[in-house]
């Protein structure tokens, strides 16, 4: 199925070319700075437009891959194909990335060396898009690895005091994980070749590889180690507080809301599709790590006095929820996990952006050095409150629906894990409200008095996030209607492959009781 306009290829090419052009322009110092700034923003906005058009073009109620581009790339001897496709699971991650990059570019214009910064960001966007869209494992791996390079330079080049340490740690840690992934991909492809005589890396073909259960578990672990580090999943998370903290505000946004999703997306896309039996066998292990991550992340967040570290640990807990829903292996849990990837991306982006705005004004994000900001910056306080409540999971805002679906799904298949995870819901309220109280409540000190409220450009940057957070909370149906068919297909695939019906509501006799009017 080939489409007249190659939307997905455009999504990768646009930012890649834009980044390249900017990098070349950066060599010519005479060009006006504004021109380059706006070129970068325009390119990312064009990418956003393409992503939105792709969403609109997609058929509803269809679970498979759409807008597919599938071209031979290296010929049959190597079997690598330029094979792109999008479905209900990836489209919202594509949109999330397409939305966040322009926002980050808009906030980063007064940095030193703005052209290089924008060029790296655009390159990163291309790599991210490539990762979410590739259905060929080698091409996926290429883009997955490629994200490291711009991310490293953004942290190392524009970060804070301990940026060198954080960047190196981030790079080596995730690089090590990916090494396992490459070995896993090659092993899988060669096993497939020995069975069929065809060397291919395309996901739908490799799905049908016959694997002995021990091989499957080893391959699952190889793939998962890369994704678990990237996400990050407990206990592979210690690079993230350092990286999120030392990165510039825009870098933290991209790292936590987009790059982290590469890990969870990888698990859903590749682990569940390729290794359903191993997924089921090892589900209790991952679920346990996820629940530990939820509770542990929340508890550690409680004693952080550094707001960025706090958000990093709260992300650890949220990623735990995503993993929890994924390995619940039923429709509710998995749909919730996919929706939570989008929602967490929006919320954490908002939090890091506001923290960045505070830093620009005060040069600190320590809760102990800020006080009473609600009095002098009421709009900032209101916006922060919204992101905070969405993160806590207050219904009416987007976080709640996804968290609820994850928990209900998990409860149906793994009750006691869900019961422990609910504790995390309580603790998240504690650390966020405590932070809010320290920073925004109380009487401002003299140095707090001078903190400006959000400027209009800053409000403009936050507006799309606010609108989406409220909209997806009140009316998540359009998103879920697109996610659900793909998730159903994946769940059915896992169930067929394992010959095992999960106790989800769809599979029970009294199915028609979902409360139709």
């Amino acid at each position: 199925m080939s489409h007249s306009v190659p939307f997905l290829t455009l999504l990768i090419i646009l930012p890649a070319v834009g980044g390249g052009v900017l990098a070349l322009l950066a060599l010519d110092k005479r060009l006006p700075k504004e021109l380059c700034d706006w070129l970068a923003v325009l390119v990312s906005l064009a990418t956003l437009v393409v992503a939105v058009v792709a969403l609109v073009t997609m058929r509803e109620h269809f679970g498979g891959f759409q807008l597919v581009s599938n071209h031979s790339y290296t010929g049959d001897t190597l079997g690598i194909r330029w094979y792109l496709g999008v479905d209900g699971i990836s489209i919202f991650l594509v949109l999330l990335s397409a939305l966040l990059f322009p926002l980050v570019l808009l906030t980063g214009q007064n940095k030193p060396k703005p052209r290089a910064y924008a060029a790296w960001l655009l390159l990163l966007e291309a790599a991210v898009m490539g990762s979410f869209l590739s259905l060929d494992l080698i091409v996926f791996f290429f883009f997955f690895e490629l994200t490291l390079v711009p991310a490293y330079f953004i942290i190392a080049g524009w970060g804070h005091d301990r940026r060198a340490y954080a960047a190196v740690k981030f790079f080596l840690y995730t690089f090590l994980g990916s090494a396992f992934l490459l070995v896993g991909i090659l092993a899988l492809a060669f096993i497939h070749q020995s069975q069929t005589g065809v060397l291919t890396f395309s996901l739908p073909a490799l799905e049908h590889t016959h694997l002995s259960s021990s091989t499957e578990i080893l391959l699952f672990l190889a793939f998962t180690s890369a994704f678990a580090v990237k996400a990050p999943l407990f206990p592979f998370h210690t690079w993230s507080p350092d990286a999120y903290t030392e990165a510039p505000a825009g870098g933290s946004v991209i790292l936590s809301s987009v790059l982290a999703k590469l890990g969870t997306y990888g698990i859903i896309r590749f682990d569940l599709t390729l290794f359903p039996q191993a997924t089921r066998t090892l589900a209790p292990l991952i679920l346990t790590l996820a629940v530990i991550g939820i509770v542990y992340g929340a508890i550690v967040a409680c004693v952080q006095r550094d707001m960025k570290r706090l958000v990093a640990y709260s992300s650890l807990a949220q990623i735990g929820f995503i993993a929890l829903g994924t390995f619940a292996l039923n429709e509710q849990g998995l749909s919730g996990a996919v929706l939570l990837m989008l929602n967490h991306g929006l919320i954490v982006a908002g939090l890091f952006l506001v923290i960045g705005f505070i830093y620009e004004r005060r040069g600190t994000w320590q809760t102990t050095e800020l006080r009473g900001l609600q009095k002098v910056a009421p709009v900032m306080a209101g916006v922060f409150t919204l992101f905070m409540l969405a993160s806590i999971g207050v219904p009416g805002l987007n976080g709640f629906v996804s968290e609820f679906l994850v928990l209900v799904g998990t409860f149906l298949t793994h009750r006691w894990w869900a019961v422990v995870a609910v504790l995390g819901v309580i603790v998240s309220a504690i650390y966020l409200l405590w932070t809010y109280q320290q920073v925004f409540h109380g009487v401002p000190k003299p140095e707090d008095e001078k903190t400006r409220d959000l400027s209009w450009p800053e409000r403009l940057v936050l507006t799309p996030l606010i609108i989406l957070i409220v909209f997806l909370g009140v009316f998540p149906k359009p998103a879920l209607d697109r996610i659900d068919p793909s998730v159903t297909q994946l769940v059915t695939h896992v169930e067929k492959a394992t010959g095992h019906d999960q106790p989800s509501v769809t599979t029970k006799g009294t199915a028609a009781l979902g409360g139709q009017p």
């Binding site: 010929g75 009095k375 819901v425 199915a511």
Partner: protein, 631 residues
């Protein structure tokens, strides 16, 4: 009906600051008064239907659907939800009106009404929702509004902490609510209360085993203890008195805190399946009523006395629910909304008149200067004390009669609590309005003397008068001898018609009524006798144990608060930083020190590695492309 306050909220959100001082308040008041009028029309419409056709379900749109988990946004109109709506909108409208006067001159005036309107919307959503999840939306919504309004004066540390504490205690209850929903969904495959093909939750209750039913009931009760401030989660409510007094009246007395009682009443078919569950509910309710009443006897702050009194009265409601007397619980809830709203607004009037003084020991003789407040407050006092023929006598009597039929021991405890109630309310009344003035003297900690108190403006007096009239006559809603034609008959479509006290003889009903009256009078006499004199410093009557709330907060702090803080610190700075991260960094160091052979390659600069990757990938591409060419 809930849309009006929501519209008010939206208007105030975008235009509040421009509308300014009185106008924003009036718009908010009009929105709520409008929804009261709508509620009246709906009530009329429902009443015009025959008794068996008084339940309506209306679905607006699907909130979300995954698999067969379909959550509609829809309302359930039945006698219970309409009753709730009537008193919620009515009391809210009065309190909005009162606030127009009370909050005058506050710098964040529009914001106050913004929160208040959002609160009314959430509360109506809570009671009108036709499924558990939508009720939960309202449930959380009122919790968030409560958080904002308690910490409304956020520059005071105590207010900020109290708001946070209220939210977190509620959050513990919410965890119970969530788990109860999961359990109910697992067994019944729906979250809708009733109606639809399978008859909703109530039509599917047959799928619940005894153990599951008890678990679900207890989990819902955990939710109720959080929201309705029952043991063991009650101690957020007294702290919540840091909010402005109209907020205390509306949220922390009349409406939000009764949400837990409403939830249990709504789920009465489920409660009926678990005797063990309801027994626990009754016992906790009875004990809470008693404990809170003892504490109220020793508080110095006028609002704290009323707060503990609220906890105690809700304890009565919970006790009634546990005894299966849902109608009595709802009856007391309505009556309590009237007289406790009245008492709080009266207290607000006193505080307003005395330049924000809340210490009972620095009041006295206000009867001379605040006549309206005194008279209306006294009606509230007699009503809550249970003096016939005021509302409290009938409603509390109804509860106690039902408990008597079920649990004799809890009845005795409830009766003793009734004496305490009359006692602490009399103490409050006498210290505030009776005796000699103490506000003109310098306080015990050197606080300056107050100016002469002044009566509040008419805009604050009007709600007092209306609520006083309602507190006086609300008993007419459900007189025991015409049960079936009044409140009980009206609520029968929700709860059924089996009422325990029908089984009591008329003779014992009379005896119980006389006992209740006697208890109230005994409490009144003791209270008056002990506090009528001029000496108000009586430590023998106010033991530390009661003043410190049975050391409940200290207990939590020692047993839960400090250990978990130590644990968190340990996790953060030892487990995370040393062990997990230490292992990572340790491995890195190990690799570096052993890899001496490759030292020349290991420049230690990641940017070289990064460049390596980039070059490697580029080489790979070139290689692959060339292969394509040749093949």
């Amino acid at each position: 009906m809930p849309l009006l306050p929501l519209a008010g909220f939206v208007v105030l959100l975008f235009a509040g600051r421009r509308l300014g001082d009185p106008l924003a308040g009036w718009i908010a008041t009009a929105a709520v008064a409008g929804s009261f009028v709508v509620a009246c029309f709906v009530l009329g419409g429902v009443l015009s239907q025959p008794e068996t056709h008084r339940v309506f379900v209306h679905n607006y749109f699907t909130w979300f659907q995954v698999g067969t988990l379909r959550v509609p946004v829809g309302i359930l109109v039945d006698p219970l939800s309409i009753t709730m709506c009537m008193f919620i909108t009515g009391v809210s409208a009065l309190i909005h009106l009162y606030s127009v006067g009370y909050m005058k001159g506050d710098p964040d005036y529009p914001k106050f009404f913004l929160y208040l309107n959002l609160f009314v919307f959430s509360m109506l959503l809570l009671v009108l929702a036709n499924n558990l999840l939508l009720t939960f939306v309202g449930w959380e919504g009122v919790g968030v509004c409560s958080y904002w309004l308690v910490s409304y004066w956020f520059y005071r540390d105590s207010a900020a902490s109290a708001g946070k504490k209220a939210f977190i205690y509620n959050r513990i209850g919410d965890a119970g609510f969530l788990l109860a929903m999961f359990l109910i969904f697992e067994k019944t495959h729906t979250l809708v209360y009733e109606g639809g093909p399978g008859g909703g939750i109530f039509g599917q209750l047959g799928h619940l085993g005894g153990g599951t039913a008890t678990a679900a009931v207890l989990l819902l009760f955990v939710a109720a203890t959080g929201k309705s401030a029952q043991i063991p989660l009650f101690n957020w409510l007294p702290d919540a008195m840091e909010g402005p007094t109209p907020v205390s009246a509306l949220i922390h007395a009349a409406t939000m805190v009764t949400a837990g009682v409403y939830l249990l009443c709504r789920m009465n078919h489920l409660l009926a399946l678990s005797h063990a569950g309801t027994e626990v509910i009754a016992i906790i309710g009875g004990i809470t009523a008693f404990v809170a009443a003892t504490i109220a006897c020793a508080q110095q702050d006028i609002k704290k006395v009323l707060a503990f009194s609220t906890v105690s009265q809700i304890g009565y409601m919970i006790l009634a629910v546990g005894s299966g007397a849902y109608i009595a619980a709802v009856f007391l809830m309505v009556a309590h909304a009237f007289f406790k709203g009245l008492l709080f607004l009266g207290a607000g009037s006193v505080i307003h008149g005395l330049d924000d003084e809340q210490d009972l020991k620095r009041m006295g003789a206000l009867r001379k200067t605040m006549k309206w407040t005194t008279v209306t407050f006294s009606v509230g006092w007699l009503a809550i004390a249970g003096i016939p023929p005021l509302a409290g006598f009938w409603s509390k009597g109804d509860v106690l009669d039902n408990v008597y039929a079920h649990y004799k021991l809890l009845w005795a405890l409830g009766l003793f609590t009734a004496i305490l109630t009359a006692y602490y309310m009399t103490r409050l009344e006498v210290l505030t309005f009776g005796g000699d003035p103490r506000w003109d003297k310098v306080g015990p900690h050197g606080e300056p003397a107050h100016h002469a108190p002044h009566e509040s403006p008419w805009i604050m007096r009007l709600p007092l008068v209306v609520l006083a009239v309602l507190s006086f006559f609300a008993g007419l809603l459900d007189l025991p001898w015409i049960h079936h034609d009044s409140f009980a008959g009206w609520l029968a479509p929700v709860f059924g018609t089996s009422l325990f006290n029908d089984r009591l003889h008329t003779g014992s009903q009379w005896a119980l009524a006389l006992t209740d009256t006697a208890a109230a009078i005994i409490g009144l006499i003791i209270g008056y006798g002990l506090w009528k004199g001029t000496r108000v410093d009586k430590p023998e009557l106010e033991p530390q144990f009661l003043q410190r709330v049975w050391y409940w907060d200290d207990f939590y702090d020692t047993v839960i608060g400090r250990p978990s803080q130590r644990l968190a610190t340990f996790f953060a700075w030892v487990v995370d930083a040393r062990i997990i991260d230490g292992a990572v960094n340790g491995a890195a160091t190990l690799v570096r020190s052993t890899g001496s052979a490759a030292r020349k390659l290991q420049t230690g600069y990641v940017r070289n590695y990064a460049l390596g990757i980039a070059l490697g990938l580029a080489a790979l591409i070139v290689f692959l492309l060339s292969r394509t060419w040749w093949s």
